[in-house]
Every structure is written in structure tokens, then in C-alpha cells.
Amino acid sequence: MKNMIKNSLVTLVMAISFAVPVLAGSEDVVVEDAWSRASIGMSRPGAAYMTIRNTGDEAIILTGLRTDLAMMPEIHQTSTNAEGVSSMAPAGEIKIAAGGEVALEPGGLHAMLMRLQRPMTEGESFLLNLVFSDGSEVMIEVPILGIAARGPEG
């Protein structure tokens, strides 16, 4: 019980201090530094980045994404081989160990937003649900930065 209160408090404090509020879902998940790039129209896929921390004492598995912004949101992994060729592939399920974290950042994992339903406009934001293996979801608000943004600060 004491532990539960502590966890809720941590989530609450995190939600306020990182300006990326965790609105619902798994209470042990903390999402920080979420950001995305504006799109040109709707024909090109978008990408979003963030750090997902598991503050709980059991591993969690991120199985997918859900958003009304894109028909096909999916977690992708970019990799670059010895010849300097970069490619992208669905990352599948992502396990985050107890106390661990996973960074979605340029050139690595990213939330790929395929089949946009509306343009991503700089200065706006969108809601993204992270779906976990136990069926719980965490909803976050992702700010949309400029096309040339390099990180959460722009």
C-alpha cells in the first residue's frame, strides 16, 4: 500500500515536472522528452521520439502504439551497417526491465507515424497511446517541433 502511494506520487511529480503528462494507463511508466517533427502535408510518414522509463519492479513490454494522427503507427528501428547503408524495420515488442528505460531517438528507435490523417503542424501537439502487453495504455502528449528539429529542445 505504502509502495503504491509512493509510485503514484512519483508518477504525479514526473507528470508535472516534465510537461509530458501521463494521462492514463500503467502507473509505473514515465515518459520524458517526447517530441516529433512537423510534416510537409500528409503523404510522408512522421516520426516521434521520447524516453520511456519503467519505475516499477517488474519488466514491462511495449507492444504497440495508437493515435488518431496516423492509421499505422509503429515502433521502428533504424540501423546503419558497415557500408554506411541505413535501413529501417519494425522493432517488434520492446521489453523494458524493472527500473530500466528505452530511448526512442534519431538514428535508433522511433515511433513511425505512417498514413497521417492530418498534417503535423509545428507548434501543435498530438496524443499518442503506448500499448503494453498487459493491455494497459499510457497516453502522452507529443509536441510537434520544426522539420529541422534535432531534439526535444528544437
Binding site: 517533427r37 510537409i40 503523404s43 510522408r44 510518414p45 512522421g46 516520426a47 519492479d57 517488474e58 519488466a59 499505422m72 521502428h76 533504424t78 540501423s79 546503419t80 551497417n81 558497415a82 557500408e83 554506411g84 547503408v85 541505413s86 535501413s87 529501417m88 521489453k95 526491465a97 524493472a98 530500466g100 534519431p106 538514428g107 522511433h110 513511425m112 507515424l113 505512417m114 498514413r115 520544426g146 522539420i147 529541422a148 528539429a149 534535432r150
Partner: protein
């Protein structure tokens, strides 16, 4: 409680194994790998291709000779690597300040099917004004990529769409059009900017 601890150890073991795999990948396939020999770009003067820049001018390798040059291959439907590299390049050019004006900076599309002159113009407009976007006939793009020893190929995605795998290194050439070095994907700025400055200086001393 005890089961949880065992699970915790399990996770730690998997973590350690993943780390070892990652270190192995880094050294064998990853950015830590040695550069393959014999795959270096040929001199610009030996290349032969004809493309159109985002301002509708006819351009080719000859356009670049006379000033140091930076070239990157990509495509505008690329959500991660290309905007990241173009914003990295924009950052390097910002750091170079006035010096950047002495440099040719070219982004060549590997997706001429979707990247029209208009699409390239709109796209490069969001990055440093020194960056020019080149597109053209598929065959000419292939000839260009071959000269730079850059590779690319289409990969189908769900719903009849496609993406492309492509060489993401940034190529540096001196003012005579000789290949000097590459800046690898996501190389930190404190290495990238001096590399560009060395390329530019080399040229200055030679001429």
C-alpha cells in the same frame, strides 16, 4: 517476492547478453566497423551524370569542381535518417558561419519517382539555405550514386508503399574534386566540423 528477484536476475542476464551483442554489432557491422577498402568515391572530374537542382538549373559533377563539396544521398519521404542528417548538416554550416559560403552542399535524392524539383525545393527550404537539392532521371541518379559508391534500393512497405535503404554517410571532396573523407551518420559535431574545416584548408594550401 522471491520469484520477482529471479525474474530480475533473468532480466539482468538478458540485458548483459544484449549489451554483448550490441558491442559485437558495433564493432562488426556498426559505426565502429573499419571502412571497407576499394569502395571510395571516384574524383568528381571522372563522374558523369546530369541532374536538376531545386532551382531548376541543370547541374552535374562539374558544377561542384572549384570549391570544396559536401554530398549526402537521401529522400524526402524518409522520416528519421534524412531529416536528422540534414539538420546535423545545417548545424555544421551554422557553426562554420561565413566559411560555409565557400562550400558546395548537395542533397541528392535516391527517390526521383516522388522527389520532383518542386518537392526538393520545398524540402530543402526547411534547412540551412546553403543546402541544394538535386533530382533527375532515375538513370542519372543511378550514375551519380555509382560515382560516389553510394547504394540504395526500394523496400516495399504495407499498403503498396515503399521506403528506401540508402548510404547515409556525408561525402567530403576538396576543391579539385578529389574525395577526402566521409562523415558518418550521426557523427558528433565536435568531430564533424573540424573534418569539414580540414577539407577546406587542404584545398586552400593546394591551390
Amino acid at each position: 517476492m522471491r520469484r520477482r528477484r529471479i525474474l530480475g536476475y533473468g532480466a539482468a542476464c538478458i540485458g548483459a547478453a544484449a549489451l554483448m551483442l550490441f558491442v559485437g554489432w558495433w564493432q562488426v557491422d556498426g559505426p565502429g566497423a573499419p571502412e571497407p577498402a576499394g569502395q571510395l568515391p571516384i574524383p568528381l572530374s571522372a563522374m558523369d551524370f546530369s541532374l536538376t537542382d531545386h532551382k531548376d538549373n541543370k547541374v552535374g559533377p562539374g558544377t561542384l569542381v572549384g570549391r570544396p563539396t559536401m554530398v549526402f544521398f537521401g529522400f524526402t519521404h524518409c522520416p528519421d535518417v534524412c531529416p536528422t542528417t540534414l539538420s546535423d548538416i545545417s548545424g555544421w554550416l551554422d557553426d562554420l558561419g561565413q566559411e560555409a559560403e565557400e562550400l558546395n552542399v548537395v542533397f541528392i535524392t535516391v527517390d526521383p519517382e516522388r522527389d520532383t524539383v518542386k518537392a526538393m525545393a520545398e524540402y530543402v527550404g526547411y534547412f540551412h539555405p546553403g543546402i541544394r537539392g538535386w533530382t533527375g532521371e532515375e538513370e542519372e541518379i543511378a550514375k551519380a550514386a555509382n560515382g560516389f559508391r553510394a547504394r540504395y534500393w526500394q523496400v516495399p512497405t504495407e499498403g503498396g508503399d515503399y521506403t528506401l535503404n540508402h548510404t547515409s554517410s556525408v561525402f567530403l571532396f576538396d576543391a579539385e574534386g578529389h574525395f577526402v573523407s566521409t562523415i558518418d551518420y550521426h557523427e558528433p559535431r565536435e568531430f564533424a566540423v573540424p573534418k569539414i574545416q580540414r577539407t577546406m584548408k587542404e584545398t586552400g594550401e593546394a591551390s
